[in-house]
Each structure stands twice: as C-alpha cells, then as structure tokens.
Amino acid sequence: MRQSQFARYRQTSTSAGTVADPADQTVPGLAKEARVLPEGVATAGILLVVWILLVAVSAIDKANFLSRETLLSVTFTMAVLGVLTVGESLVTISGGVLDLSIPTALILPAWVMATLLVDGINVWLTILVGLLVGIAWGGFNAAIIVFGKLNPIIVTLGTNFAGFAILGIYVQNAVIPVHSGLATFGKGYSLFGLPNVFWLMVVVVALAGYLLPRTRLGRRTIAVGGNPQAAKMRGISLRKTRFGVFMTAGLMAGIAAVLFAASQQTFVSADGTNYLFLAIAATLVAGISLSGGSGHLWVTFLSVGLLSTIPTSLAFFGVPTLWQTVPAGVILVLAVGLDGYRRLRSAR
C-alpha cells in the first residue's frame, strides 16, 4: 500500500520531471484554492454586506456621516492597517499561525526613516533603507525560526519583547520633517480625492492578492501552510519558503512604515502597539484560517475597511471613545469562533 503510494508519487514526479520547480506542478495549492473559493466569496459577501449596513445605518441616523471628513479618516486608517494585514495574512497562510512582532516591525523602519530624513538624506534613498530595514527584521525573525527550529509565535513574541524595549529606549519622539518629500506625499490626494497613501495600499493589496496563487513563492507558501510534510516530500524547501514568507512580511511592514511615517508628523514607539491586535483581527475576520494553507488576500481589503469604519461610526453615534476596543474585540472573538467551528465541521 505504502509502496504503491510511493510509486505513484514517483511516477507523477517523473512524468512532470521536466518542470524545473516542483511547486509549479503541485496541484494541491491550486486545488485548495479552487475548493476554498466559494467560501472566500461567501466571506467577502458577508463582510461587504456588514460594511455597507454599517455605513448605511450610520448615514441614515446621522446625515453628515457621509462626508469627506469621514471618508478621509477611514481611508487614512485603512492605509497602514491594510498593508500590515497583508504581511500578517501571509504568515498565517504559510502555517506560521501569527506574527506577534508587528509593533517593532512597523516602528523600527519608521524610526530609521525619520532619523535619516532629519539628517537631510534623499527621500528615495530613505524609503529604500526603510524597506530594507523591514526586510532585515523579517529575515532576523526567520533566521531564529529556521535555524533554532522554534515556533514563530514564541520567536516573534520574544523578538518583539526585546525589539520594542530597545525602540522604547531610542525612540522618544520621532519627527518627520514637514517639508520632506515623504510628508508632502502623505498629505497629498489623488484619484477621487482620496489620500495617496490609501491608493498605495490598494495597489499593494491587489498586487499581493494577485501574485500569491500565481508565483512560485506564493504557491509554495500555500503548499507549506497546508501540509508542510507533503510539501517537503515534493521537494519544496521549508527553510527557503519560510525565509521568503517572513522577509515578504517584513517588506510589507516596511511599506506600512513608509505610509505610517508619511501620514504621521510625529510618533512614539507606543503608537505601534494597537496595530498588532488590529492586524490579527483583520486577518481572521477575512476568513484566513489559522491552520494555514488557505485564504484570500483580497478579502482583507474588506475586513480592514470594516474594522477601520467602526471607530468613526461609533464616534458619530456618540459612543465615548473609551468604548473603542470593545466592538473590534467582539468581532475578533466571533471570527475566531467561526474559524474553529468551520474546522471542527470539516474534520468530521
């Protein structure tokens, strides 16, 4: 039985032996994609309906909700969170469960960029350095995970503990120079009068969602997350894939840091803490399963939108700002519960 399975595996692998990359012919990633598609569409539909309902109810009750100010406040919030959520989702899809180092991953590049800009370094060079710092942070996490063979949750908990403390020592009050190109970009608006940073986020989410099932690294990410042992059997390097995933997540944090620095005049390290919870919530609300191997990045656009609209909507209903974290927490608990329920059902 076992032998025949192995023989079959060998047969398939030799029949397609001319293909250079084994992941290119791994149907599981794509098959899973196809199987999950209806569920992804269902999640997207539910999110869209809830989001529209929230906007509609707010608008009917408070006519001035549908104003430019609301739109700007929501889209600015969406920009940084959207890009961070892409990184977090990639880690979750790859089977790494969660990346808990988001606060450090966001503030570290942002702080480096603020320091360089104050020193009068060219803005493009600054952005390049910021992105590289983000990638380096992801690579640092991946090195400990891969070479120490340690679980990503514990590793990112530890590196964030240490990294965030070091940032606490050095980042007292980072300032982005008002006349720097970055600040001008962050304050600017383009298409439909929406912020530049928002459109950049849309491009990143769209591109990441398009590339995930269509590139070698993306397909390997899905395959490793779905079943690491099977992926290894097919000759996919777990180490390389994990480095790729965490460095891409680091790149996303770097891009988010560019948007964050561009739209923020000053910041302290503590500004990063809230994004961890929000990015995890947005990932799970988008229906990306914590067991890994499935999920649609495009859906995160809707979950990020919903989570970013809630605070503004609550403010319009006169709910004191003190209540702010409660609804997002309830939504997170419901999303995690639904995720667990689905898995229990599919296990049966």
Partner: protein, 336 residues
C-alpha cells in the same frame, strides 16, 4: 568474596544511578531554571553586594511578584491542559476596577469580592464556550476577550482614568509581613506547593497533563477533554478575579491600564520556567514560579543599578528565546 564483590558492585550501581539522577535533574527544565535562578542571585550578589539579599530587598522583590505568581499558578493549569488564556491581565485590571467601584459605593468588601469572583468565572465560561465548544484557537480567541475586557476596563474607570479606594482590612492583609516575606507571598508559596502536588501526584494532575499532551490518547483513555479544559479556563478566570482584589489590597486603587503589562510578564516567566504555549502537558508550577523569580531578580538588579528599565524586557526576551531553544534541544517541540 563474591558477596563483597556483588555488594561493591551494587553500591557502585546505586552511585551511578544517583549520578544519573542528578544529571537528569540538571538536564530537566526544573534543573536548568534553578541554575538560571542561582546565576541571577550570584550576579546580584557580585554586582550589588550583600544588600541584594537583605530583608528589605527581598520584601520588594516578593511584593512585586505576588500578582504575577497568583495569575501564573492559576492559568498555568490551562497551559498544561493545552489552552492559552491571554485575557488574565485584562481580567485582573477590570476586576480590580469593579471591586474598587463596588466598595466605593458602600458595598461590603466580602460581597464585592464574591461579585468579582463570579465575573471571573463568567469570563472563564465565555472563553471555554469559544475555545472548547467552537474549537477556536485559544491564543487568538483570548486576545479578543483581552481586547473586550480592557475596553470595558477603560469604560469602568471613566473619564478620570482611575478609581481609588482604601479597604482597611484588605490593605492590612496585603501589607503584613512574616519575617522578610509578605504574608500574601507566603500563602502563595503554599498555593504553589499545593499546585505542584496536584500536578505531579494526583489523578487529576495526570488527567490534565494527558489532555494537554495528547488529546486523542486522553479521549481514548476515557478522560473528558472538554471538562478538563473548561475547568482549567474557569480556574484561570477565577485567578484573574483574585488578582484584581489583590491589586486593590496592594495599590489601593485601579487605573485604566492596570494589568496590561502583567500578561506578557506571566507568560514569559512560565515559559522560561518550562511551560509551553504551543504544546500542553509540559511544565511544573514550581518551575513557573522560579521563572517569575528570575524575571523579578533581573528587574530588581536593573532597578537597583538604575539602568534604563527597558533593558529588563530586552533581557527577558532573550531569556525566553534561550529557554525555548534549550527546551527544543532537550526534545521539546521542534518547528519544521
């Protein structure tokens, strides 16, 4: 002659087995955490001097450890059963606020404590419904309840951001010392000893470890996995409530961020002490307590030397990674 030989051989045998036992102990999680603790004390003695072990300093260290130790001892049962409860810190903060507010509104402290205990149990039940009944991933689910509870804590503290109340009996209880040790900590040490006994030498402890170690095997052995997990999550919620009351005794009030830092401290401590948040069934309450002592020792050395307190977190983060690394080398969970 033969008898003498065999006798000598047998003593030799017992000696090697004793040496093996000592080696095994040094190699075990408890052994390495004990060595780390001794090292911290030695560093303190050499760097700070004998004042590191004076009564007043011991009193400061053990007072600071009281709430984390209470939380760790209660919620480590959940870890052992294979579920993580991240909501304990926020639960302690919210319960401290509610307890203080009730006493301010002229409630009897005992009935206020009873109400708070009920709230703790309800939090445990809510966590169990989501985690055990719906099968949610515990870290993410309790991160959600953490957010809800800390939001409610903000609301309960109102615009002032804090509640101040002095409960004479409770304040006296929390600040009584037995020799250099606060009475509360002495009682907590007793609690830890009881917990060690339950975990290592009772049927209940074996069942909890079995559930955390291998869910399917435990089910096959006739242990109710859900009952054990629900029970441990309720105990964890109750621990949060008690910690809230203890906070009021120690601090005489609550703020809207009280307890937000303690959860990471508790989990770093118990993980340094040999527990795992990824895999149940491993760990020992004594190890967890020593892990918290290591963190408290590092914090104390850094405070006495008036070094920037952020370095405590840097050291704790590094210790945490080292601890899980050595645990992995020892045959713990490898991530591949």
């Amino acid at each position: 002659m033969r008898a003498v030989l065999s006798a000598s051989r047998s003593t030799e045998g017992s000696e090697t087995s004793r040496r093996n036992a000592i080696g095994a102990l040094l190699n075990s999680p408890i052994g390495s955490i004990a060595i780390t603790l001794v090292l911290i004390v030695l560093i303190g003695l050499f760097w700070i001097g004998t004042s590191f072990l004076t009564g007043s300093n011991l009193n400061i260290v053990s007072t600071s450890i009281a709430v984390p130790l209470l939380l760790a001892t209660c919620s480590a049962f959940a870890l052992l059963a294979g579920v993580v409860d991240l909501s304990i810190g926020a639960s302690a903060g919210l319960n401290a606020t509610i307890f203080a507010a009730l006493v301010l509104h002229h409630w009897n402290p005992w009935s206020a404590a009873l109400i708070v205990a009920c709230i703790g149990i309800v939090i445990g039940i809510v966590n169990s419904v989501v985690i055990v009944r719906l099968g949610a991933v515990s870290i993410a689910a309790t991160l959600g309840t953490l957010s809800v509870l800390s939001g409610l804590q903000f609301v309960a503290n109102g615009t002032a951001g804090s509640v101040t109340v002095l409960v004479p009996g409770l304040y006296h209880f929390a600040n009584t010392s037995v020799g250099p040790m606060p009475l509360v900590v002495v009682l907590l040490v007793v609690l830890v000893v009881v917990a060690v006994y339950v975990v290592t030498s009772t049927r209940l402890g074996r069942h909890i470890r079995a559930v955390g170690g291998d869910e399917r095997a435990a089910t096959r052995a006739g242990i109710s996995v859900s009952k054990v997990r629900v029970g441990s999550l309720i105990l964890s919620g109750l621990g949060g409530a008690l910690a809230g009351v203890l906070y009021i005794g120690q601090l005489g009030g609550a703020t809207n961020t009280l307890g937000s830092d303690v959860v990471f401290l508790v989990y770093a401590g118990v993980m340094i002490g040999g527990y795992s948040i990824i895999r149940g069934g491993v760990g020992n309450p004594a190890g967890g307590a020593m892990g918290l002592l290591v963190i408290a020792g590092v914090t104390d050395i850094i405070a006495v030397k008036s070094i920037n307190t952020y370095y405590t977190d840097v050291i704790v983060g590094a210790l945490l990674l080292l601890a899980v690394f050595f645990d992995r080398i020892r045959g713990g969970d490898a991530y591949e």
